[in-house]
Symmetry: C2
Subunit: 245 residues, 2 copies
């Protein structure tokens, strides 16, 4: 058993995800948004590297596509939705395919698209994701938890959520065997912030930036655990819930 936590895609070698089930976390906000959309009935979420890619997808698939995403935390001109999980209401997304492009989260998902299983992770789907992670560890699988981070750098919000997943996946196991340096540090963050999801999210640069832009409600929303108990999975460049996959 080996579990690695990578704090951003920047230092990731292409073999790091090879053959390993991978959880990707961008709790503020892309993976929270993905879970909200799928929980509220979206048929699929397609992570797109650029706004142009998203528009191209909409041109191909037609009226059933909802364009969503952000640049510098703000909605993209001409898009239907931003990157807020609060916008992913059943009215907005049920039965639709959401083409989502964000600064860090969708890039992280695309960076590990070759991994055998890629699961978006957030607070809102924590219990379901943790159950899967624990089952994988019990089967003896090696896991990678990839934090989206922020422009290639460490993000406190994602690192904390990664640590939570790790602690749940390890169950009662102690010791540091099989854990990389990122995993050990992420567990220390969980010891520091314990069950207070919102604390590290508010302290993080991503959280502070959202508050500054008047989007503090997104931070509170994304900090609530288990509000959208779905386990999306990336398959053929589309995220769907496992049942629908």
């Amino acid at each position: 058993m080996r579990i690695d936590v990578a704090f951003s895609p920047a230092g990731l070698a292409s073999h790091d995800a090879a053959g390993r089930p991978t959880f990707v976390v961008d709790v503020l906000r892309a993976t929270s948004t993905i879970c909200a959309a799928l929980h509220h009935g979206a048929r699929a979420v397609v992570p797109c590297a650029t706004p142009e890619d998203a528009v191209r997808l909409a041109q191909t698939l037609g009226a059933d596509v909802v364009l969503a995403g952000e640049r510098q935390c703000l909605p993209i001109p001409g898009f239907h939705l931003g990157n807020s999980p609060r916008e992913m209401t059943p009215d907005a997304v049920a039965g639709k395919t959401v083409a989502l492009t964000t600064t860090n989260g969708t890039r992280a998902l695309l960076a590990v698209a070759h991994a055998p299983h890629v699961y978006p992770l957030a607070a809102c789907n924590f219990g379901v994701a943790a159950g899967r992670a624990r089952a994988l560890v019990e089967e003896g699988a090696d896991l990678l938890v990839l934090c989206a981070g922020r422009d290639g750098a460490f993000g406190l919000d994602d690192a904390y959520v990664a640590g939570r997943l790790l602690r749940a996946a390890l169950g009662g196991r102690t010791g540091r065997r099989g854990l990389n340096d990122g995993a050990i540090a992420a567990l220390q963050l969980v010891r520091a912030y314990r069950d207070r999801w919102e604390r590290p999210l508010r302290l993080s640069r991503a959280g502070r930036e959202l508050v500054r832009l008047g989007l503090g409600d997104d931070v509170s929303y994304a900090a609530q655990p288990d509000t959208h108990p779905v386990l999306p999975r990336l398959h053929d460049r589309r995220l769907t819930t496992e049942a629908a996959a």
Copy 2:
């Protein structure tokens, strides 16, 4: 006052170090080795990106150059010394210029060579470096602490040392204002490991790798604080102690 900790050069934007005094830490082992060499009388240490660069420097400067460094933790064929601080004895380095090339540490130094002041940081020069960091903070300077990390990824050893510097630089200040996410996490590591320098160094992948290669004594040596109380500074691509600069 702003203090950023970057956990590796991989996610560093070129403007991150612009105008900011920068501490670079690769405690296992490059910055420990640099301090040991200068404390034991080396005239200068020149960080070289590649073994070829180091050899070229020796060809230019002649007999006063000592070639030192590692690849995959091991000495480079044809070089006089490896990258062990224990090798930097007065006999080996006094009066010489050390051309040093290592996998992570020298690359981190070169990545911020444009910063106004670049100081190598390790446990062995901790007190002196912390004194300088504290004075800079009191002057209102913005600091960057760059961890060499490991192949672009997070290293527990460097992150802990970065946190120690930060705590010392902040003195009695509390609150997280002006700290980036990396700085906040590094301080949490200090809360976790307290004054036990050797614990995070031994837990880190770099430390475990050195032990595996029979170089565990290097870990113990590098974990001792204040054994080489020098403050090297990078100037014109050469590291010298400040008095000699």
